[in-house]
C-alpha cells in the first residue's frame, strides 16, 4: 500500500514536470536541460555542422531550411546559431521563434511576421564577443504544418526584407514546403541518429543525473525511440521519475506506452503458424483486451516477419501486402479487431501454404 | 417579353438590375429607411374603389406617391416609356394577383386618380424586380399578360382545388367571421401543400366571397441591394425575420385597426401570411417558431398561414425536420391544419381546356394531357407551360418530331415523377434478347458479359430525371432486392457492394473537397453512375416484367429515429447513472439498456426505470409503419 502511494505521488509530480507549468525549477525537462548550446556540439550531423561553423565565422548566412526526422537536432541547431550570433542580450530583439502551437495562419504571416521582418537593425558591431550581424532571424518551427496560403504569403515577405531578415524553416517533410520557398533556402538534411551516438548521449545524461542503466535498458532506449533523441530523453526522464535511479528495460517500455512486449507479438505469430483459426482469434482478442495499439502491433509484426529466417520470400510478400493494407485501413479509422484478425488470418494462410484465393468467392 | 421575365429568367433580370443600381443615391437610402419602418405591408380593402397602399415591398419603393419627379434613381430610368402609357389609359383588368379586393376595383379604376395609378405602378414595378410574386409585365396588352394571372380563379367554380377542401376552408372562415370572435384561441388556419396547388387562390376566393378585407404579409425576397446597404452601413438593415416578428407583435397588440386607414367594418378582416420568412440556423428557427406560436395563441383575427412543403425527397435533412416541428407546434397551440394535395390531372386538364377555349387556341387534347401530367399537380406551372407551349406553335420543328419525346422534357416540373420512371427503368433492367451481331474486338469474360440495354445510357436517363445521387442510391437500395431473382444471391451481393461504393464516394466530398464545387459535381455524378450501373450490371438475371410498387426508403425514417433515440440517451445519461460518469452512448445502448430491461421490475423505485420505459415507448419502426408511397409504376 505504501509503495502504491509513493508511486501515486511520483506520478503527480511527473505531471507537474511535463513542461507545462514551471512549478518546480528542478523539474526542468531534460530535453531542455541537455540541449546543446553550440553548433559544434550537435550530435552526429557532421556535414551540417561543418558548413554552419563556417557560416558563423563569417557571420553571413542565407535563408535556411532544416529537414529530417524528429529528434535529430534541427531546432537545437537553429537555436544554437541564433544564440551564437547574437548572444543572450540581443537575442530577444533579434530572433522571433514561432512553432506550430502559435497561430500561424495567413493573418499572422501578414502582420506579426511582416512587422518583425520590417524593423531595421543597426549595422554589424560586435558586442560582447558575439558577431551580431546586421539582420534578424525568424525561426519557423514545424513549418510543414503551415497552410499553403500562409507559405505563399511568406514568399513576398522573404524577398522584400531579405536585407534585414533571415528565415530558418524547420520541418519533417520537405515535400510539404512549397517549392518557391524551398528554392530560396539553403537546405540541410538531418540524418536519423545512429545507435552508438544515441547511446553515448544517453550515457552522458545518466552520468549527470546519477542514473543506473544496464546494457539491455540502453539498447531498449535506442530501439523504442527509433533514432529520435528527444523521445529517448523524455522516456528516460519519465522512467527516472517513476522508478527511481535504477532503470530496467521493462520500466522504459512501460513508460513509453508504445512498444508491445515481444512475447505478445511472438504468441500471435505462433498462433498463426499453428494453422488453427480459433487459436489465432483468441490471441487477437487478447491483444485488443490488453489495450495494445494495433498500428504498433502491425509494425512490430512486420519487423519480426521480415527478419525471420524460416519464412520464404513469397510468404513474406503475401503477409506484408496485407499488413500494408491493414495499416491504411486503420488510418481511415477502421476497427482494430477486425483488421488484426484479417491480418492474422492472412498470415496464417501464407505460413501454412493455404491457397491465397478464396474458393467460394464469385 | 414580359412572360420571359416572369417565368424563366426573371431571376437573372432582377439580378442584373441590382447590379446596375449599385451606386445608391440619397433618395434610395431615404426611401429604404422608410420602408423598413413601415414594414412589408400590402393592404387592400374589399369592395372599395381605392386601394390603400401603406407600403409596398422592400427593395425599391422609392417615391411612392410622390410622382415621377421624385424618382431620380436609375430605377426610374429603367422603365421610362411604360409609365405614362399605362397610367393614362388601358383599364388593366385584374392585373394584381395578390388581393381579392383589387379585382373588384377594376371596373372603377378609371376614376381613380393618377396618383393611385402610380402607386399600382410602383407596386407592380417593385414586385417584378423583387420577385415576391410572379406578376405580369406592365399590362400593355392583355395578350402579353401571363395567363396565370389572367385566369386567376374568382369564383368557387373556377378553383381547381378539391371541393371538400374548399368547403372546409370556407366554413372555417364563415364560423370565425360570422359568429362572435370572443371565443379565444382557434383563430388560425394552417394550410400546407406543395407549390401551385391553389392555397393562396383559395383564400382569395373565400375572402372575396365573404366580403372580407384581406391583409397579407408576403415574404419579401432578400435582395442584393439590401445587402449592399447593410454592408456600407448607410441604411438600417432589418432582417426579414425581424420584420416578421415586429409585424406579428403589432398584430397581436393592436389588431389590424391601426393599420387600416379607414375604419372599415373590422369584423370581416382576414389576415393572410403567405409563406414564412426564410430562416437559417437553429436560433432563427426557434425565434420563428416562438413568434408563430404566440400569434396562434393570441390573435383575434382569423388568420391563414400558408406553408409550402418543398420536395420532401430528402426528409432526413434539417429543413424538413424543422417544418415538421413547426407544424406540430402550431397544432399544439390550437391551430387548425388543412393539407392541400396536388391537384389531380383531370382538374388541371379541365382548367387548361377552358383557357384554350377562351384564348381561342387550338391545342390537341394529347398535349393538354401531357402538360397536365408533367406538371405534377402544380396548376400554376401547368398554365405557364400551356402559355409557353402556345408561343411555340409557330416553331417549325413542332409538327415534325414526335411530340411525346420532345415535349415532356420541356414541361416536366416535379422531379419525383420522372425520378420514379427512371428508377423503374433501372430496376426492371430491360435488355435486348440477343447480343448485337458482329464480333467484338475486345471480347470479355463470360461472367462480365451483359446484353445491351433497352433504354438510353443510364447517365442520360439520370440527367432527364434530374436525379441527385444520394436519393437515387437510397431508393435503389430500398427497392432493388424485389427485382432480383430468388436464387441470385450473388447478384444481390454484387449490387449491394456497388451501392456501398457509391456511398463511399458520396461521403468522400464531405471532408476534403467540400469547398470545391466542381470536384463535388464530378463525385456526385460518378457516385450516381456507379449506383445505377452497379444495379444494372449486378442484376445479371433480370426478372420478367411485372407490377411493382416503389417504396420510399425506410432508411430515412430509421435514421431519424435513431438520431432521436440517441439524443434521448445523451440527455438522460447523467441523470440515470447518478452522474457516475459520462459513458459512451454505445455502452449505454449495448449494455445498460438491455440490462435495465431485465432489472426493471426490481428497480421500480429507481430512476433507471424511467430510461428504459421511455426509450421503449420511444420509437420503433413497427409503431409508425412507413407509408408506402402510392407511386405504383407500371411496366412500359
Amino acid at each position: 500500500m505504501g509503495r502504491e502511494r509513493e508511486r501515486e505521488r511520483e506520478r503527480v509530480s511527473f505531471f507537474r514536470s511535463l513542461r507545462m507549468a514551471p512549478i518546480l525549477q528542478s523539474s526542468q525537462p531534460w530535453v531542455e536541460k541537455y540541449r546543446p548550446k553550440q553548433v559544434k556540439d550537435v550530435a552526429h550531423q557532421d556535414e551540417v555542422v561543418r558548413v554552419l561553423t563556417n557560416t558563423l565565422e563569417t557571420a553571413n548566412c542565407p535563408h535556411m531550411l532544416f529537414y529530417g526526422p524528429p529528434g535529430t537536432g534541427k531546432t537545437t541547431t537553429a537555436l544554437a546559431i541564433a544564440h551564437q550570433l547574437f548572444g543572450p542580450e540581443l537575442y530577444k530583439s533579434r530572433v522571433l521563434e514561432l512553432n506550430a502551437s502559435d497561430d500561424r495562419g495567413i493573418n499572422v504571416v501578414r502582420t506579426k511576421i511582416k512587422d518583425f521582418a520590417a524593423v531595421a537593425v543597426g549595422s554589424g558591431q560586435r558586442q560582447g564577443g558575439y558577431p551580431c550581424p546586421p539582420y534578424k532571424i525568424i525561426i519557423l518551427d514545424e513549418a510543414d504544418s503551415m497552410t499553403e496560403d500562409a507559405q505563399n504569403a511568406l514568399r513576398r515577405t522573404m524577398e522584400t526584407y531579405s536585407k534585414v531578415t533571415r528565415f530558418f524553416f524547420i520541418c519533417n517533410y520537405i515535400s510539404r514546403i512549397i517549392e518557391p520557398l524551398a528554392s530560396r533556402c539553403a537546405k540541410f538534411r538531418f540524418k536519423p541518429l545512429s545507435e552508438e551516438i544515441m547511446t553515448s548521449r544517453i550515457l552522458h545524461i545518466c552520468k549527470e543525473e546519477g542514473l543506473n542503466l544496464d546494457a539491455e535498458a540502453l539498447s531498449t532506449v535506442s530501439t523504442i525511440s527509433q533514432g529520435d533523441l528527444r523521445r529517448a530523453i523524455t522516456y528516460l526522464q519519465g522512467a527516472a521519475r517513476l522508478f527511481g535511479s535504477s532503470i530496467t528495460s521493462k520500466d522504459l517500455i512501460s513508460v513509453s506506452g508504445v512498444v508491445i512486449p515481444q512475447e505478445v507479438v511472438g504468441a500471435l505469430l505462433a498462433a498463426c503458424k499453428s494453422g488453427n483459426f480459433d487459436l489465432a482469434n483468441k490471441e487477437v482478442n487478447n491483444v485488443i483486451a490488453e489495450g495494445y495499439p494495433v498500428s504498433q502491433m502491425l509494425s512490430q509484426l512486420f519487423e519480426v516477419v521480415v527478419e525471420a529466417d524460416d519464412i520464404s520470400d513469397e510468404q513474406k510478400a503475401r503477409i506484408c501486402k496485407r499488413l500494408g493494407e491493414a495499416d491504411k485501413c486503420l488510418v481511415d479509422g477502421a476497427d482494430e479487431y477486425l483488421q488484426l484478425l484479417d491480418v492474422a488470418s492472412n498470415t496464417m494462410r501464407a505460413l501454412c501454404n493455404m491457397p491465397q484465393e478464396f474458393s467460394y468467392e464469385t | 417579353m414580359s412572360l420571359w421575365n416572369n417565368c424563366l429568367i426573371y431571376g437573372v433580370v432582377s439580378f442584373g438590375f441590382h447590379a446596375f443600381n449599385a451606386s445608391p443615391t440619397a433618395d434610395d437610402a431615404v426611401s429604404l429607411r422608410r420602408s423598413a419602418i413601415v414594414g412589408p405591408w400590402r393592404f387592400a380593402m374589399g369592395k372599395r374603389d381605392a386601394v390603400v397602399v401603406l407600403s409596398s415591398d422592400d427593395g425599391g419603393d422609392e417615391g411612392e406617391g410622390e410622382g415621377e419627379g421624385a424618382l431620380s434613381s436609375s430605377r426610374s430610368r429603367s422603365k421610362p416609356a411604360a409609365k405614362p402609357h399605362l397610367a393614362r389609359s388601358e383599364p388593366r383588368r385584374a392585373k394584381k394577383p395578390r388581393v381579392s379586393g383589387s379585382r373588384s376595383r377594376s371596373s372603377s379604376s378609371r376614376q381613380s386618380s393618377i396618383v393611385d395609378e402610380f402607386q399600382f405602378l410602383e407596386e407592380d414595378f417593385n414586385e417584378v424586380f423583387t420577385g415576391a410574386k410572379v406578376t405580369t409585365g406592365f399590362g400593355r396588352s392583355t395578350a402579353k399578360e401571363s395567363w396565370v394571372d389572367k385566369y386567376k380563379p374568382c369564383t368557387f367554380e373556377e378553383l381547381a382545388v378539391h371541393k371538400k377542401k374548399v368547403e372546409e376552408v370556407k366554413s372555417w372562415f364563415e364560423e370565425r367571421l360570422i359568429t362572435s370572435k370572443d371565443n379565444l384561441g382557434d383563430h388560425v388556419l394552417v394550410i400546407t401543400g406543395p407549390a401551385g396547388v391553389g392555397k393562396s387562390a383559395t383564400i382569395y376566393v373565400v375572402a372575396s366571397h365573404l366580403g372580407a378585407t384581406l391583409c397579407e404579409w408576403n415574404t419579401p425576397t432578400p435582395t442584393v441591394w439590401k445587402e449592399y446597404v447593410h454592408n456600407s452601413n448607410t441604411g438600417q438593415y432589418v432582417s426579414k425575420l425581424d420584420e416578421f416578428e415586429a409585424f406579428v407583435e403589432r398584430t397581436r397588440k393592436y389588431g389590424l385597426i391601426s393599420q387600416s386607414s379607414a375604419g372599415e367594418s373590422k369584423s370581416s378582416a382576414i389576415l393572410l401570411i403567405d409563406d414564412l420568412p426564410m430562416t437559417h440556423g437553429n436560433v432563427a428557427r426557434r425565434r420563428l417558431q416562438n413568434c408563430l406560436h404566440l400569434l396562434v395563441q393570441s390573435t383575434h383575427i382569423p388568420t391563414a398561414i400558408l406553408i409550402t412543403d418543398y420536395g420532401r425527397v430528402d426528409s432526413a435533412d434539417r429543413e424538413a425536420r424543422f417544418l415538421e416541428e413547426l407544424h406540430l407546434s402550431l397544432e399544439s397551440a390550437g391551430a387548425r391544419k388543412i393539407a392541400f394535395n396536388p391537384i389531380t390531372s383531370n382538374a388541371i386538364k379541365r382548367i387548361l381546356s377552358k383557357i384554350c377555349r377562351q384564348e381561342k387556341r387550338n391545342v390537341a387534347s394529347e398535349q393538354i394531357d401531357l402538360i397536365a401530367k408533367a406538371s405534377g399537380g402544380d396548376i400554376r406551372h401547368a398554365i405557364t407551360a400551356l402559355q409557353f407551349f402556345c408561343l411555340k406553335v409557330d416553331w417549325p420543328s413542332f409538327s415534325s418530331s414526335s411530340p411525346t419525346t420532345v415535349y415532356d422534357l420541356h414541361f416536366g416540373r416535379d422531379e419525383t415523377i420522372s425520378l420514379f420512371h427512371a428508377l423503374g427503368k433501372f430496376l426492371h433492367n430491360k435488355r435486348e434478347s440477343v447480343s448485337p451481331s458482329g464480333k467484338d474486338p475486345h471480347p470479355m469474360q463470360e461472367k462480365f458479359m451483359r446484353l445491351p440495354f433497352k433504354m438510353d445510357a443510364p447517365e442520360k436517363v439520370l440527367s432527364q430525371a434530374h436525379g441527385q445521387a444520394r436519393p437515387i442510391a437510397d431508393f435503389l437500395h430500398e427497392n432493388v432486392l424485389d427485382f432480383l431473382d430468388e436464387e441470385a444471391v450473388d447478384d444481390a451481393s454484387a449490387v449491394l457492394s456497388y451501392l456501398g461504393d457509391a456511398d463511399v464516394l458520396l461521403h468522400s466530398f464531405h471532408g476534403a473537397v467540400a469547398r470545391n464545387y466542381e470536384a463535388e459535381g464530378v463525385v456526385q455524378s460518378a457516385a450516381a453512375s456507379i449506383a445505377v450501373r452497379g444495379v444494372l450490371f449486378g442484376n445479371s438475371h433480370p426478372l420478367p416484367p411485372r407490377w411493382h410498387s416503389i417504396r420510399k426508403p425506410k432508411l430515412w425514417q430509421s435514421e431519424k429515429f435513431s438520431l432521436h433515440n440517441k439524443d434521448e440517451m445523451l440527455r438522460q445519461r447523467f441523470m440515470v447513472y447518478n452522474g457516475v460518469s459520462s459513458i459512451d452512448t454505445s455502452v449505454i445502448a449495448t449494455e445498460y439498456m438491455p440490462a435495465c430491461k431485465w432489472l426493471q421490475h426490481r428497480l421500480q423505485a429507481h430512476e433507471v426505470m424511467m430510461l428504459s420505459t421511455e426509450i421503449e415507448d420511444g420509437i420503433s419502426l413497427d409503431d409508425r409503419e412507413v407509408k408506402t408511397s402510392g407511386d405504383e409504376i407500371e411496366e412500359w
Binding site: G238, L338, L341 | A492
Partner: protein, 276 residues
Amino acid sequence: MRNIDIELTTLSSTHHVEMNPSDAGFQDRYVVQEIIKEMAKNRPIDTKGKKRFKVLVLNEVDKLSREAQHSLRRTMEKYSASCRLILCCNSSSKVTEAIRSRCLNIRINAPREDQIVKVLEFIAKKENLQLPAGFAARVAEKSNRSLRRAILSFETCRVQQYPFTINQVISPMDWEEYVSEIVSDIMKEQSPKRLFQVRGKLYELLIKCIPPEILLKRLLHDLLGKLDAELKHEVCHWAAYYEHRMRLGQKAIFHLEAFIAKFMSIYKAFLIATFG
C-alpha cells in the same frame, strides 16, 4: 462573427470537469477550444496554494476529429498553467502522435477473467449471495473481459433466478440474441428475399443505437462459431473489408447488408460445393 449553439452535458466538481467532446459531432473543435479556455479563466483560487489547477477529463478522445485533436494540442499547451487534462480513449491508435507525445501514456488492460471472478465473489459476499462453484467463472467467461458487463449480467442472473444453480443460463443482451437470430436466419436460407427480411431486423437494431461496427463484429463472432475452418478466413476477411468501407461511407446499412449478402453468396457456393 458566427454564433454556434452546442449542447453538451458535463459533469463537474470544484476541482474537475468531465465531458465527452465527441458528442458535439463535427463541431467538437469548438468545444475543445472554448471549454478549456473557459476553465482557464475560472481558475480556482486557493489560499493555501494547493490546487492551483483544475482537472479536465475528456472521454472518447479517439472519436475526436483530426482538427479537434490538433487544436487540443495547442490549447493544452496554452492553458497548461491552469488546467490539466486526463484523456481517456479505447485505443491510442486513433489519437495523434502529437497529443500522445505530450501526455504520459498509461495503458490500462482489460481485467483478466480471474480478476473478474474475484470482484464477483466480493460482490456476492457483500450482498450475501450463495455462489455455486464455477458460476462466477462462467459469468466472467461470458463477459468478454469487461468488468461492467460481468457485473451487469451477474445482477441480471440474480434477478432472474436465485438461488443460483450451477448450470443456470446466463442470458446474453437482448440485441445479441437478436443478432444470433439474424445469423441463424441467414444460414438457413440465402436469397434476396431473406436478405430483405434481415434488413428490417438490422434497422431495428440501428434504431436502438447499437453502433454498426459492434453489430458487425457480433455478427462475425456468431458466424465464426458456426462455420467450418476454411470458411472462417474468407468471412473474416470480408468483415474487415466491409467494416472499413462502412467507416469511409455514411450509411452503415449499405455496408452491413453488403457483408451479409457476401456471406450468403459464399455460404451458398460452399453448400453447393459440399453437398451438391
